[in-house]
């Protein structure tokens, strides 16, 4: 296992995801708990698909669109994405 392209380690990915979720849910990023299920933050299945598309384009990866269902919080997404091998989806 190596880190993602562009060295998107967890330290950079988490704040980026937090900002995206804040933007999608129109909340102050400071009020978002990264461990809370995204659905509880008001990020419904429609947003989940759109967020997955943003992550793909941000990281230059192809991901399974069910990503946000299977890793349903910012912490879970960060952990999953940080652990992906470098050549994932290439």
């Amino acid at each position: 296992m190596t880190t993602l392209p562009n060295h998107q380690d967890a330290g950079q990915l988490r704040p980026w995801l937090l900002l995206r979720v804040a933007e999608f849910t129109e909340r102050d990023p400071a009020t978002i708990d990264a461990a809370t299920p995204l659905a509880d933050l008001g990020l419904d299945s429609v947003y989940a698909l759109a967020l997955c598309g943003e992550i793909e384009d941000h990281l230059g990866l192809r991901l399974d669109p069910t990503l946000v269902w299977d890793h349903p919080s910012i912490d879970a997404l960060t952990a999953y994405l940080s652990a992906l091998p470098r050549d994932h989806g290439a």
């Binding site: 995206r20 933007e23 999608f24 129109e26 299920p37 995204l38 659905a39 509880d40 419904d44 299945s45 429609v46 947003y47 989940a48 698909l49 759109a50 997955c52 598309g53 943003e54 793909e56 384009d57 192809r62 399974d64 669109p65 069910t66 946000v68 269902w69 299977d70 349903p72």
Partner: protein, 569 residues
């Protein structure tokens, strides 16, 4: 003899009042709010269910486009048969093919090939298309057992089906992993455990048995689950790519008969000493309705083939088909009704079938998935598709636009819950660069209209705020999704016409219809109706009249039909 020819021959000429399977008999059953029993017996003999079973499991299902073509014949004669005999089992079965294991595949194939019906048990009145919030539950019972509790309402064939595919909640957590589909055979349930709700009275589809079920802690073996626990949303969103494409495409059969009724009436009815069809305004409406049918079929057939050839990208396309095809067909029927006048309103007589078809067509706009719910599926995917696909042209995969070419088997495992890219729209840009010499100035100008619109859509899609992507966002964003479906449709029309250039001399290779199609679609963009100029209405009406006289279908396939024109009766 092709399957369609065989099926049409069994139905016989629907306009012949002596035909026991003709319009008169279909209407009589509808007046009694009954399924058309003689029609059902004929479809039993024909083994229509085999059309829903893949050939590898002993059925006749090879391609989605071929299935649509066969089912369109059923919808041409009686949409109640189309839905109540056929399509409802198709909807349920697709989920099993997409999510079930080999034993479940075998069992479903045996049931269908044995003539049984399978109900698709998704819908709850309280939640409509919002399946993420369904309440029907499957809770753990004793080891190896599930307990079913809840109600499902407005379910086709709830009572007479032998098996059900039930969308049920298996976790209280919100999100996409809280539901599981269950493939339940009724004789697996304890006697009396399944209660049936009374039929829901409806405006159209009166013969179809629209019922409901209710259970309370009803035990069933846990082996009924389709796929992994929590996979229902994923299986449903994959299956929708066949059903949201297939069902509206099938219902175009009802528009075929509606258009045939109007052409027939135009020949039959004399005003001021001349047949109504001689009036330019009537010819115009008939020609435009024919073009509407062709437009709808271009999108539907292309997407049906794309499900085989571009399965990673068809999620958005299937919802676009549902939105575009149902809307265009319903609008075309309404305009044809104006041609028929009082005859569109009478429930008996030679044209009595028209009002039934109009009523039966209406659920195409809301049944299974509402048109606006389809736009809501398209919208959140647009920014990504705009980034990935809307700036550079792409060539079409070989065979996409050639409906004579064989397709690979349905790739259920490759269908995704969101589109990866948007090759069909990118093909618009390629087509615009590939217009052959001799392309008329109007068609060139219309092509520029659509490439220009795509550029505007791209700018607008990239500027969408995340809050506008979801239900409850800015209505202008939904309008963007609707405009996208129009551009997508224009791309399929233009590319199909380009592919037909390999067969010169045919109606589909001629530029009249595609010019008219893009003209009608351009009207969709700016809300300005553009009447077809006489130079287009003339040849298009001539083709329509020729097909009517020869007894040919009005869609892309122009199959031979048993319908004889009035003058020969």
């Amino acid at each position: 003899m092709s399957t369609v020819t065989d099926l049409e021959r069994r139905f016989g000429d629907p306009w012949d009042p002596a035909n026991p399977l003709g319009h008169r008999a279909v209407l009589a059953a509808d007046e009694r709010s009954e399924m058309f029993a003689d029609g059902e017996r004929m479809l039993d003999d024909f083994a229509l269910n085999a059309e829903f079973v893949p050939t590898a499991l002993g059925g006749r299902l090879t391609g989605l486009d071929r299935l649509i073509r066969v089912m369109r014949s059923v919808f041409r004669h009686d949409p109640c048969l189309g839905l109540g005999y056929g399509a409802s089992s198709f909807i349920a079965s697709v989920n099993v093919w997409a999510g079930g294991d080999a034993a479940q595949h075998r069992r479903l194939a045996d049931l269908l090939l044995g003539g049984h019906k399978v109900a698709s048990v998704y819908h709850e009145l309280a939640h409509g298309n919002d399946f993420a919030r369904v309440d029907f539950r499957a809770d753990p019972g004793r080891t190896g057992e599930l307990l079913l509790t809840g109600r499902k309402e407005v379910v086709t064939n709830a009572r007479r089906s032998s098996a059900m595919v039930i969308f049920s909640r298996t976790s209280d957590a919100p999100g996409g992993r809280s539901h599981t589909q269950l493939f339940v055979e009724k004789d697996q349930l304890p006697p009396g455990a399944l209660r049936y709700l009374p039929r829901f009275a409806s405006s159209g589809m009166r013969g179809v048995q629209l019922g409901g079920i209710e259970v309370d802690r009803c035990p069933v073996g846990a082996g009924v689950a389709l796929g992994a626990p929590g996979s229902a949303m994923e299986i449903a969103l994959r299956s929708f790519q066949l059903t949201r494409t297939g069902l509206p495409a099938m219902t175009l059969g009802a528009l075929d008969t509606g258009l045939r009724a109007a052409v027939r009436f135009g020949d039959d009815r004399v005003l001021r000493g001349r047949p109504v069809a001689a009036m330019p305004v009537v010819r115009g409406v008939l020609a435009e309705s024919f073009v509407d049918l062709l437009i709808a079929d271009c999108l539907a057939t292309t997407v049906a083939r794309a499900v085989h050839l571009l399965p990673e990208d068809t999620n958005v396309y299937a919802s676009a088909v549902k939105y575009v095809v149902s809307g265009r067909a319903i609008q075309a029927m309404a305009r044809l009704g104006e041609v028929l006048g009082a005859q569109s309103y009478l429930r008996t007589g030679e044209y009595g079938i028209f009002q039934k078809l109009s009523r039966d067509l209406a659920p195409a706009g809301f049944g299974h998935a509402a048109r606006v719910a389809c736009l809501a599926t398209v919208l959140p995917q647009l920014p990504r598709l705009a980034r990935r696909s809307w700036a550079a042209g792409q060539a079409s995969p070989e065979d996409l636009y050639d409906h004579r070419a064989e397709l690979p088997p349905l790739p259920f495992e490759r269908l995704r819950i969101a589109s990866g890219a948007d090759p069909l729209t990118a093909q618009l840009l390629a087509a615009a660069e590939a217009l052959p010499p001799g392309t008329g100035e109007l068609l060139r100008e219309l092509t520029r209209t659509f490439t220009g619109e795509l550029a505007r859509l791209r700018t607008a899609a990239l500027a969408l705020r995340p809050a506008d992507l979801a239900i409850g966002g800015d209505p202008a964003a939904l309008d963007l999704a609707a405009r996208y479906t129009t551009v997508l449709t224009a791309s399929t029309c233009l590319n199909l016409w380009l592919a037909e250039q390999g067969r010169p001399g045919t109606f589909l290779a001629d530029q009249a219809w595609v010019t008219a199609a893009l003209l009608r679609l351009a009207g969709e963009l700016d809300g300005v109706h553009r009447a077809l100029p006489a130079s287009l209405a003339g040849p298009i009406h001539a083709e329509l009249a020729g097909r009517y006289q020869a007894g040919r279908a009005f869609d892309l396939f122009h199959d031979t039909l048993p319908d004889r024109p009035r003058s020969r009766n």
